[in-house]
Symmetry: C2
Subunit: 515 residues, 2 copies
Amino acid sequence: MNGADSLCDTLLANGVDVCFANPGTSEMHFVAALDRKPQMRCILGLFEGVVTGAADGYARMADKPAATLLHLGPGLANGLANLHNARRANTPMVNVVGEHASYHIQHDAPLTSDIESLARPMSDWVHRIQSADDVSSAAAAAIEVAKTEPGGIATLILPADAAWQDASPSIQRARSVEPSAIDEAALSRVREALRNGRKTVILLSGKALRAGALDIAGRIAAKTGAKLMAQQSNSRIERGAGRVAIERVPFAVDAALKALEGTEQLILVGARTPVAFFAYPGKPGVLVPEQCDVIKLADPGNDLRLALQQLADAVGATSATPAMVAERGGIELPTGALDASAIIQAIGALCPENAIICDEAVSSGRDSFKWTWNAAPHDFLQITGGAIGIGIPLAAGAAVACPDRKVILMQADGSGMYTPQGLWTHAREQLDVITVIFANRSYAILHNELKMMGAGTPGRNARRMLDLDSPPIDWVHMAQAAGVEAARAADTRTFTDLLRTALSRKGPFLIEAII
Amino acid sequence: MNGADSLCDTLLANGVDVCFANPGTSEMHFVAALDRKPQMRCILGLFEGVVTGAADGYARMADKPAATLLHLGPGLANGLANLHNARRANTPMVNVVGEHASYHIQHDAPLTSDIESLARPMSDWVHRIQSADDVSSAAAAAIEVAKTEPGGIATLILPADAAWQDASPSIQRARSVEPSAIDEAALSRVREALRNGRKTVILLSGKALRAGALDIAGRIAAKTGAKLMAQQSNSRIERGAGRVAIERVPFAVDAALKALEGTEQLILVGARTPVAFFAYPGKPGVLVPEQCDVIKLADPGNDLRLALQQLADAVGATSATPAMVAERGGIELPTGALDASAIIQAIGALCPENAIICDEAVSSGRDSFKWTWNAAPHDFLQITGGAIGIGIPLAAGAAVACPDRKVILMQADGSGMYTPQGLWTHAREQLDVITVIFANRSYAILHNELKMMGAGTPGRNARRMLDLDSPPIDWVHMAQAAGVEAARAADTRTFTDLLRTALSRKGPFLIEAII
């Protein structure tokens, strides 16, 4: 057994059995080792942003890490933007970055680079393997980092010689670290706060947004009169009919200020104090009112459901009827012109039970919560770090994790162009993903941001950088290039018909919706 | 005038008048400033790898830097792989990376990351602007780094508040740093070596591979019997009929060892001692024979043409007739099956005078030198850092720099899928680029590397990671998706006809050659 086998066996022994990969020469021994392990499912992405984004989507739905296989510094670099999103989502992930043989680095061959420097900003843990005998314990340590709540990005640098040298056959198990309970002081502070009659928002994120935890939060809200809100962006929300509905803190600064206006105390449950996505001249960075008390119940690494249960017990809410449970609303199919709201409304109306909705519709997706809150019960996955290009990969990974669930991807066109290669993975793996392109042919968000910055009306140079209409991107051809069946809709009726058809069958499909 | 205006004016005052861009919110004031400067040509890439790769191609042909505009850490990260190539090519480039307003960073908003850590591995110089008044001097310093021979990657981090605050109207000029001359000792060492009768290779790279410098090198070779060779990969070679022909050190270790076998002394002119691209078990890392003396005439930062002229004077070669001048060979059009060699032969035969040939054909391009050495005079641009995905952007940048020259891109399919977004820039800017896709539907190089590593015959998992045939990528649809006209050739005659047609007109065209 060589180091590569040891790595592969350690991953499998710890339940990591999916590897999203884009290998190169320095990873050939690991590829050969994977080849000897049919239990490992290897999924190729034709660009590393697809690899890391898919690993993120997989882990959000599987609640366990996938491995990624990346080629040297540049391969890692290509995957960093989606690693950034994954880190912000607290996604568990084990990255294997192939490196030159240790004795070759001195030669500064063309592909040599400082992998640690590249990895650190988007990793919670970075480790360079020293020898083949170091592989299994290093991999186990990586898996432990990844799996420890709330989840972490562990990046292992694997020199080629450590992969090809003989390794000890001893395979290490990752220590299992239980999520920690909250401390008594935090619990009693929050309990007291909920009795003081002040206007309260309980801000949830992470696993506090799973249906079970939300149900408990809904009871607390019912009992105490506190309002529930979710962070602006979150890894995964279980929502829809029969579940506790929750608003998000809006993206836009003014809207967020308005939503939180008058809040006298904010209780954090795995969430962070809301801040502006960007600074704007003359606007605040922190979005809660100045006099508002921020009280932390639980960190993302705590057992959030348990924390909510303890709080419910403390305030006597356990047997309350949850507030804000969404009833199946019989969402109407849209009529009128095809626009972003019509698309989302159609998705809300037709979304099947247990679907996974992925949202990278960016500015077009602002209404997505409004039109889907009482759709059939579904999971809702968002871009968490603002690094666009996650939608197509995220949907791929979610579909790999949940082959029996329909994935619906709401995809902005500008962001979609960051990782269109992911469509090929949809086709190759015959993933059950419907990709809906919101084709507004513009970086619409930037037009708005230019205005928000007070930077004036766009002229030629600005328009050359913000508009995608010349030439328009033909997403139907793009999908077909990657082997995904596709069709275009320019009116609401056609869109609804296409969506219905796509929902009636399995496998990848793309709808370009011209809005 | 604000900081963004100051930056824009400083770039223009120093002759930097092309900006490849993919902006985001934090760069909106810079976008607004660019909008006030119609002298600046702003070119949008729909992904940052396109932006940095195009800036590389532009600078290689324009012999001056372009600016890039990138959005925060993730935007920079997306551009890093091609920055890596550019740094290895000693390309001059000024990157402007937008950053949050300085006072906003403390909030760790979703897009916050450690930009310096990401930038350093692929930059020669990194600087964070402190205030609007710092902008012009910082930009001038960046331009100086970029322009100092052999060229450098300068990365400027521009906080949004430094862009929007009032700035001093004083615009700084970059100091002009002349390339240094070689020292006398190096010159006399090499002069002596060329007289000792030992078997000598003169290894050239950088600007020693421009036609004028090569002509001088050809005279030295004729006079001294030394053999000329070029580094394995180089930023730009001026070659073809009427110019001194030069072989490259082969990529494959065994072939490189054979090419350098028996060499007793190696003289470096802007080149580095050849090393293996990767380490292979049991093979050497340094590719020159153990007993070979390596003697440096000139560093990449020296004036390489002057160095060669001084050497020619020293060995009395100035009036010699250059060795190895390529005569226009009347390259035959290929017959027989369509394969990589036939494609390259057709390009060699039909290549118009003064064309720019970009090569990212990877394993399919191994014969590209053999079949084009005596084609019409042309420039030859290569991938320099091994980070695939440069071809389509590189060709775009070269075409922007040289609008009156035909660009022919030899593009492998696997690598092409890294930055297919660049085709949209070909269409948008109506660039005169013919993209030839070598569609072997495989990471062919990796199949070979797996063999070279002794890693055995690929099974299912390995094939799932090395083959791109299921589904095949349809490059004609891909091009059409981006607004580029395209056609497919599956036989030599069709390919030759399509190439001839594409050469007869201006504007972007893509040929998918099935091999």
